[in-house]
């Protein structure tokens, strides 16, 4: 058997390689540099890597060749295992931008009084002498930066993978660092570690489902490649049962990652337990990456069999929206509320996913489901990152004050920050002139065009429920006084952050308003991304 040297398109894969290379470099920095300069070096390295990757992403995007008569742009790389096409580069850009915000939040030290939000020494048991020592010496884990880069690398590979194995590898590369990061909180460490363990166990379980599904689909199609699977589905060869069961198991793996019901159980605990900076990064970027992968798997590999999976998506979307919106109403913790709201948003995005239609069924200039989902991801990612960034700043004497009552009257004490949080909530609620509204409109429209009116009606009903808990928060912040007689330490106040967090929040506000008022450019960008390469 001849060994043929694989051809790797280094130029097109440059953003991915830069991020993964940067992550390895970060590990080396950890190993060889003394403790004191590490944070600065890591911060600079990570930011430079992400910026460089973003710049090369733009360069790649402008350079993509048109294929399939202009309907799509891009090429298959790395022997057909990775696709660099329009949607891929769009998602890459989005993930990289959100990660930049994540890095800024990771590096914030002023709000904790000079230390980061991460445990001084993760290996030290909570409540022991070792922990106290780590704390008094002001140690911090700078490994979080390379971990973030690895996660970003996985997130970039995830929606770009063109076969099931690559997709599985990407899933693990993105998940493992997140499990670790979740357990690294400086405060409330037991809660954080419990969350990490829960996330890990459930995540490993869902990976198993994914792998089993991949095996079954391989049994059906005789190939891991999406193109070959699509071919087999079209020709309807092989055992239908294998295909359907495999498809379902693959869906379980991916729906777990996006946090769709009935696989949403981990979301509130993990979002609450993880350091808020990690939650911000994870909730925004993971969702983008996982939805990218979901879209590619179902549109490309199973696209011609959409009558089989659309009913399942209908059921999942309806369930997810209802569970997310209804359970969020009874939450009294801001992080849990945002977690359930993210579940509801997963349902809204799924509404867009199931709104796929054949090219022939769309009118000239009509919005496509891919375009709608990509836009929604951008709008949602920005808002959720910003909202969690705000949560890191609202503190009392015990650290972050995430309980509902503590936020009373925040609008009077810090109108700007409360205003920013209010804007993020309004965007999530889908009030016009914010990015969230346009996103909601887009996904509802594509679903309606595809005839999924029951899903759209449910979506509208759950939006009404969702508005209730968002608006209640605005009311708490602006129109409620803290209970008289509450000790000063019990009322949350806003800690002045360094430029890093402020810039993230400000950029998020700006993006939310600008995309909301002038959504044209982002929509056009999503439209220009074209279709997936099949």
């Amino acid at each position: 058997m001849d060994f043929v040297k694989p051809t790797i398109e280094y130029a097109e894969l440059a953003p991915l390689l830069i991020v993964l290379g940067g992550a390895c470099l970060g590990v080396a920095v950890e190993a060889f540099l003394p403790r004191s300069p590490r944070r600065t070096v890591q911060l600079v390295l990570t930011s430079v890597v992400l910026l460089a990757a973003f710049a090369t992403t733009i360069w790649v995007a402008t350079d993509l060749a048109e294929v399939a008569g202009g309907a799509a742009r891009g090429l298959l790389t790395a022997e057909g295992t990775i696709v660099v096409d329009g949607p891929t580069v769009f998602l890459w850009g989005l993930v990289l931008l959100l990660s930049l915000g994540g890095v800024a939040l990771f590096a914030e030290r002023r709000v904790e009084g000079g230390v980061s939000a991460f445990a001084g020494q993760a290996a030290a048991l909570p409540g022991t002498e070792a922990e106290r020592e780590a704390s008094t010496r002001g140690w911090e884990h700078t490994e979080v930066y390379p971990l973030l880069l690895f996660a970003v690398g996985g997130m970039m590979l995830f929606p770009a993978s063109n076969d099931l194995l690559t997709m599985f590898v990407a899933l693990e590369v993105l998940s493992l660092p997140l499990y670790l990061l979740t357990g690294l909180a400086r405060r409330r460490r037991l809660l954080s570690q419990e969350a990490a363990l829960k996330y890990f166990l459930l995540g490993a379980f869902s990976s198993g489902f994914f792998l089993y599904g991949a095996a079954l689909v391989y049994g059906f199609a005789g190939s891991m490649q999406f193109t070959a699977i699509a071919e087999a589905v079209r020709n309807d060869t092989g055992n239908q049962a294998l295909l359907l069961v495999g498809m379902g198991l693959l869906a379980v793996g991916l729906l777990f990652k996006v946090g769709a019901a009935p696989f949403q159980g981990w979301t509130p605990d993990v979002y609450q337990g993880a350091p808020t900076a990690v939650t911000a990064f994870m909730s925004a970027a993971t969702k983008v990456a996982a939805f990218g992968a979901l879209l590619r798997l179902f549109y490309v590999a199973f696209g011609s069999d959409r009558w089989s999976w659309q009913p399942m998506m209908w059921a999942v979307a309806i369930l997810t929206m209802v569970v997310g919106a209804v359970v969020a109403v009874s939450q009294t913790d801001v992080k849990r509320m945002l977690a359930y709201s993210s579940v509801a948003h997963t349902g809204f995005i799924l509404t867009g996913v199931l709104g796929v239609q054949g090219a022939g069924e769309l009118a000239d200039g009509q919005i496509t489901s891919l375009q709608a989902v990509l836009f929604y991801l951008a709008a949602y990612g920005v808002a959720t990152l910003g909202a969690f960034a705000v949560v890191t700043l609202v503190r009392d004497s015990n650290g972050e004050a995430t309980h509902f009552d503590r936020w009373a009257g925040l609008g009077k004490r810090s109108p700007w920050l409360a205003g920013a949080f209010g804007l993020y909530l309004l965007s999530m609620a889908g009030i016009p002139l914010t990015a969230g509204f346009v996103g909601k409109w887009a996904v509802f429209t594509v679903a309606m065009s595809a005839g999924a009116w029951p899903v759209v009606l449910t979506a509208i009903a759950s939006s009404i429920v969702a508005i209730f808990f968002y608006v209640r928060y605005i009311r708490i912040m602006f129109f409620t006084e803290p209970h008289a007689g509450t000790p000063a330490g019990e009322v949350a106040s806003v800690t002045t952050p360094s430029l890093l967090t402020s810039a993230t929040i400000a950029a998020g506000v700006l993006a939310t308003v600008v995309i909301g008022v002038v959504p044209g450019p982002v929509l056009d960008l999503a439209a220009r991304a074209g279709d997936f390469i099949r």
Partner: protein
């Protein structure tokens, strides 16, 4: 002159003004700036009106692509209907601001909201409301329709009595709920429009669209639900009374007299113009709801003890009349409804503001604790009576003309519809006159001991209700709040005895002048409204000859109707 983007300017000036006012350092300066900006906006509104050509259809149009991927345009235009609504808005806002100038210390005492914020939000609300009335793109309409709720929410939640936060949430939940149902319909329109070719949200494109009957009916249902919440009509009216009770009178004027008009405006502009057949199909239901609203609103108003709640509920009755006129599908009904929208704006604004004056002097909004104002404040009593009489449509005041037309149209539609609507007039007389009697006449607030016992009893029952009254009185300068309402001696305290001051009279005068002027000489309003109504009747393809009525009779009816104005 006409190449100037007049309508964008009309929207832009108050919008930019709101930002400027919010940024100004001193409250007095901010108030002055806000009043100036609203007067400039009034000037712009008048300029637009002067350029208006009767029978000119949509004028001063501006159309730019906004979100081309959605077929959405930034498209504005003004015709007879929108012109009247725009004028109503630009006239009422300076009046509200001038009123709030002196009232903010009363109404906002203890609320913590800064007067600057009130003036800025009011201007923002004006800008967005104007945009609603001027939008000729359904998507743009939807966006500003929803966006008006944000300033409204902060106006209700930030200023007024205790419990306003809950009222604001209730208001927003109802409105956004209706708005989301509307979103479903707006999306449906896109789908229908995309199926017919290139998607577009322009009103003119959509009006030309040929929709299937079921699609038209479903989409209409969404629009109607949203507008029924907005207007409001039974059974989606419950937010109205709570909101007007808790909010300041100034806010209530903006909400009820301007913002709620969007509901009836939308019924004309969108339901009737875009879905004429489906609208006729829905007529029985809407007419029933309108009739229930007329009677039920009036009955509720009779039973109220809170002055502002009462005034709010009279509007429920009035919106019933407006809707009835719109859905009677005759030219008298349509013209009457359009005039009613203007007249109701003037009359209810006058009533809210005079009620605000009364409450500021009494330190309570509870009618049972008032009485005897007439002797102490005759000028205020006069204004209050006039506003009340306008509300019950006394001949000679402008609401009479519109109400008469609507009732004619109702009888034309069906005799029993007219018969039920007429009871609204009787009930209006009851609630207005009994309100006047209880507030203004009599021996003074709670003269006897048993009244004091009543008040004490209420103390126990409803302490939360008692508290806001205390705020108001303290701000107004009355000394002891509890004693002020309990003994007759308190009536002689300076704050309670003060009649309207000259500048307060000046603020109310334009409203009263409008009410009397259009009562005797409504022709200017008809000149603007009638061409629109003719176009609309042609579009919905309805003649005034209803099949049930012999042709000859209808002509006489019309003649009678014309004679009445």
């Amino acid at each position: 002159m006409s190449d100037l983007p007049w309508l964008s300017l009309l929207i832009g000036v108050p919008l930019v003004g709101a930002v400027v006012v919010a940024a100004l350092p001193r409250a007095e300066l901010a108030k002055l700036a806000a009043l100036l900006i609203s007067v400039v906006t009034l000037g712009l509104g008048v300029a637009v009106a002067l350029q208006h050509e009767l029978r000119g259809g949509m004028q001063l149009t501006e159309t730019h692509d906004w979100i081309s991927a959605f077929g959405v345009h930034y498209a504005l235009g003004v015709d007879g209907l929108s012109l009247l609504m725009v004028l109503l808005t630009v006239v009422l806002v300076p009046i509200v601001l001038a009123y709030s100038w002196t009232h903010d210390e009363d109404a906002q005492a203890g609320s913590g909201g800064s007067p600057r914020a009130f003036f800025a939000w009011a201007l923002a609300l004006e800008a967005l409301s104007l945009a609603v009335f001027l939008a000729t793109d359904v998507f743009l309409f939807y966006v500003v329709f929803e966006a008006t709720l944000i300033p409204a929410y902060f106006l209700i939640g930030g200023f007024g009595k205790a419990g306003r936060g809950a009222a604001a949430v209730k208001f927003l939940m109802f409105q956004l709920g209706g708005g989301l149902v509307l979103l479903g319909s707006v999306i449906g329109l896109y789908v229908v429009s995309a199926q017919a070719g290139e998607p577009s949200y322009l009103h003119s494109d959509l009006a030309a669209l040929d929709m299937s009957t079921s699609a038209e009916r479903w989409i209409l249902a969404g629009f109607l639900i949203a507008f029924v919440v907005k207007a409001p009509l039974f059974p989606l009216h419950t937010w109205l009374a709570d909101t007007t009770e808790k909010a300041t009178p100034g806010t209530s004027v903006l909400l009820v007299c301007v913002l709620d008009k969007i509901g009836t405006y939308g019924m004309l502009r969108f339901c009737l113009e875009l879905f004429p057949e489906a609208s006729q199909w829905a007529t029985p239901l809407v007419v029933t709801l309108a009739l229930i609203s007329i009677v039920y609103g009036a009955l509720l108003a009779i039973g109220q003890d809170d002055l502002l709640r009462l005034v709010g509920l009279t509007s429920l009755s009035h919106f019933g009349f407006i809707t009835l006129g719109i859905f009677a599908f005759s030219s008298q009904g349509q013209s009457g409804a359009i005039l009613y929208m203007v007249n109701h704006g003037l009359g209810t604004a006058a009533l809210f503001l005079t009620a605000g004056h009364v409450i500021a002097r009494r330190g309570t909004s509870s009618i049972s604790r008032m009485g005897g104002m007439e002797k102490l404040a005759p000028v205020l009593a006069g204004f209050f009576l006039l506003a009340g009489l306008a509300t019950l449509s006394l001949p000679g005041l402008s609401p009479f003309v519109s109400e008469l037309l609507v009732i004619i149209a109702a009888f034309d539609y069906h005799w029993w519809v007219g018969a039920i609507a007429v009871t609204g007039i009787v009930l209006a007389a009851i609630y207005v006159l009994s309100m006047y009697q209880r507030v203004m006449t009599g021996p003074g607030p709670l003269a006897a001991d048993d009244a004091a016992d009543d008040a004490a009893g209420e103390h126990l029952e409803d302490p939360a209700h008692r508290e806001p009254a205390g705020h108001g009185a303290a701000g107004g300068g009355a000394t002891g709040t509890a004693t002020a309402t309990r003994t007759e001696a308190a009536v002689t305290t300076p704050a309670a005895a003060r009649d309207l001051r000259p500048h307060e009279v000046a603020v109310l005068t334009p409203l009263v002048v409008g009410l009397v002027l259009f009562g005797f000489f409504p022709m200017p309003l008809f000149d603007v409204a009638n061409p629109y109504v003719e176009d609309l009747m042609a579009r919905v393809d309805v003649d005034d000859d209803a099949p049930a009525v012999p042709p000859g009779t209808t002509v006489e009816h019309e003649a009678a109707g014309e004679g009445a104005h």
